[in-house]
Structures are given as C-alpha cells and as structure tokens.
Amino acid sequence: MNIIKKFLLIIILALVILFLQGGILKPLLPNILMPNLFLIIVIYLSFYETNVLGLIFSFVLGLLYDISTSTLLGPYAASFVTIYTLFAIFSGRIFIDTTISLIIITAISSIICDIIYMILIFTFLPDKNNISFEILLGSISTAIISPIMIYILKKYYPIKNR
C-alpha cells in the first residue's frame, strides 16, 4: 500500500471512529467507560508501522481527536506522539500477539495517555480521586475493545509481519 492510500485509509478510519464514538457510543455508554478508539490505532501503528510515517499518522490522529473533543489543539496530539514513540522504540521487546498481552498494553498506554493529557490541559483539578478513577475505568474499556480493533486494522490496514 502506498503512502497516499495509507493516509486516506487512516483519515477515513478516524472519521468513522469519530462518528461511532460521538454519535453512537457516547449516548449509550456512561461517560466514565468511554473507550478511546483512536489510541488503539496509535498502538497498532507503533507496533506495525514503526517508521516516521507511523509517527506522523499518530500526530494527525491526535490533532483530529483534539479538534473534536477539546477546546485546544495539541494535548491529544502530544499524548499520541509520546505513546507511539514509547511503544515503537520498544516494539521489538514487547509481545502483543496474544489477546491478554494486547489488553494489558492498551490499558497501560491508556493510563499514560490520560495522564499526559491531564498534565497538558489542567493545572489544578478539583477532584483528583475522581479523576484517577475515571482514568482507570476508561483504560479498562479501551483495553477490552482493543483486540477487536486490532483484528479489524490487521484486515484493512495490512502491514508486513513483525
């Protein structure tokens, strides 16, 4: 698949996810359990598209997520870039080929992503206990969905074996 095709595929996928998360999942799920499907794509890219292109895709995904969720541009872009780099550098040493390992990796990355986002967005939080609870529950729901998402990505965004 050439770069333009890959880029278009990522953009279409991002729009579908935005529509799915904002139009269907948000009214159905409690806010605290809202998964971050964008993050799963970033994790996939960090393991299967380990080059500058994957990094740029992660940055673009972050920007798209920022536009639709935040009043500022950048917090998710920075979080996704950090997550991508972290996993891309250690991709050779981390095993994600089983469902359990994938769920654990996604949960950890979701927690890291939310912490970076929080650091960048807020300087003072009114209720820190509540926030940590939200981070934890959100990461679990994202992690549970990750095997299905990765399966879909492997099917429609095929990249050479790790």
Binding site: L15, I17, L18, F19, Q21, G22, G23, I24, L25, K26, P27, N31, I32, L33, M34, N36, T50, N51, V52, L55, I56, F59, G62, L63, L64, Y65, I67, S68, T69, S70, T71, L72, L73, G74, P75, Y76, A77, A78, V81, T82, Y84, T85, A88, I89, S91, G92, R93, D114, Y117, L120, I121, F122, L125, P126, D127, N130, I131, E134, G138, R162
Partner: protein
C-alpha cells in the same frame, strides 16, 4: 520487528519535533481560537450529514421502544397528569395575577425591562467522543446566525454555551464540563458565586461566603453578570454541603436541573 539504532534515533528526533509542535499549538490555541475554529469548521462539515443520519436512526429506535414501553403505564400516567394539570392551572392563575401586579409595581418604580432574547430551536446530533470533554453538537450553525458565546438552554434550564460554530453545526460546552464556569446566585440567600463543572453529573459552586444559610435543595439561578446568560435562568439545586472549618468560602455541590443524558432538543438564545 527490532528497530535499528539509526531508525530509533530518527523516530525519537521526529517525535521530539512533533511533541514540541503540539505544545506550540496548545500555547497558540489557548490564546487565539481562530485555528481551532477553522479546523472545527472543516471537520464537522464533513461529519454533519453522517451525524444527521445516525441521529435520525437512533431517534427512530428510541421512539419505537419508548412507544411500546410507555404504553403499559399510560392509564396510570394519564390519571396523575390530569391531577397535575388541575393543580398547575390553579397555580397558573395565581401566578398570572402576581405577574400583572408585578408589572404594575415595576412601572411604578420605573425599573428598566429585561433585555429580550430571540430563541432558535436546535436538535442534538452528536456528542464529544472523549470521556474528558462534555460538549454536544447541535444542528444549527453560522447559517442560522449562531455565534461563539451564545447561551444555550432547554425547557428545564441552562445547558451551556456555544464554543465552536461551523456553517451547519455548533459545538456547545455543557455546564458539567470541567472548563465551564457560569456566574450564579442562590435563590434563597441571594449569595453570588461561580458554578464550575465537575466532569460528572455534579457541579461545584464556588466563592459562596460561609454562614449564608444555604440549605440542600436551594435553587441556583444565573446572575446575568457574566454577560452571557440572562438573569434568572434555573441552573440546578444544591445537592451537598461540605463545610470546611477553615477558609472564607463553602464548598457546595450542585445537581444541574437538566438531565444531559436525556437531552434531545435545546434552544439557543440570541440578543434581539
């Protein structure tokens, strides 16, 4: 796939550049909203037709389910509603009398009439996909003369304010968002404060001085002093009081009057 040393350096350097770019963007958009406005315009104009279709489908299913489920209790509900109407008619009559009396007294005192607002009805077609942000997308935009900062209400009370506008849609920051703040007062004690979103169903009422005789259930209304919301709109009621021995202010938790999980239609207020 194990990365080579040079590839690792390449990714790390690019990552650093992109991370710094994000910080610069963050810094820039915190001061100037033009860039995020423009980006929102492009993104939501692409998503608008799909959101509209999905909204219609979700509404169709919800309405069908509602019709069948609520049909079961219809007789009981009808009886209680008739009783309620009779009670409200009585109250309405009394309020009408008081209204005329109030008008006369105001005329006597020569109090300036309240500023009039035009109302634009809108339907919710999308939500903020993230768990952190609390905003909704409505199907009215620049074409309908909606502008950033316009107040949004429902038949129950305050919903929030417009933060982004595209030609056909607008993003509304709802009052439970952590970045939302509205100037309010307590109806009973008339004490003024600022209501700040808590990220969940409860909001925090700040800067209410201690010893204000605040009680659970007291109504919280907009003060009109923020220059966005007209005075006297119902925001919520006091749900919890946590007295702190030290300090000047009380910590009050407020339950918004609007149930955001069931909200379907809103009204955007425009100064006439």
């Amino acid at each position: 796939m194990k990365l080579t040393y040079s590839k690792r350096i390449q990714i790390s350097l690019c990552s650093l550049i992109l991370f710094l770019s994000s910080i610069i963007l963050l810094h820039h958009t915190s001061k100037d909203k033009t860039l995020i406005e423009y980006s929102y315009n492009v993104l939501y104009e692409v998503l608008y037709p799909f959101q509209n279709i999905s909204n219609n489908i979700v509404n169709f299913f919800n309405n069908t389910i509602d019709k069948y489920i609520y049909l079961v209790n219809l007789k009981e509900e009808n009886k209680s509603l008739k009783f309620k109407i009779a009670r409200l008619e009585k109250r309405n009559l009394k309020l009408h009398e008081e209204k005329y009396e109030n008008r006369k007294l105001k005329r006597l005192l020569k109090i300036k009439r309240k500023v009039n607002y035009a109302q634009i009805g809108a339907e919710i077609i999308g939500y903020n996909p993230s768990k952190w942000g609390q905003s909704i997308i409505i199907n009215r935009g620049k074409i309908d003369n909606i502008k950033v900062g316009d107040p949004v209400i429902s038949h129950e009370g305050v919903v929030g304010q417009v933060i982004n506008v595209s030609p056909n849609t607008s993003k509304v920051l709802i009052l439970i968002d952590r970045t939302s703040a509205i100037d309010v007062f307590l109806q009973q004690s008339r004490a003024r404060g600022v209501i700040i979103g808590g990220g969940n169903e409860l909001c925090q009422l700040k800067y209410i001085l201690k010893n204000n005789d605040t009680k659970i259930g007291d109504k919280v209304l907009t003060s009109g002093l923020d220059g966005i919301f007209p005075k006297g709109l119902l925001v919520g009621h006091v749900a919890d009081l946590s007295p702190i021995p030290s300090g000047l202010f009380d910590t009050i938790k407020v339950m918004p009057i609007v149930d955001f999980t069931k909200l379907e239609f809103v009204t955007v207020l425009k100064l006439k």
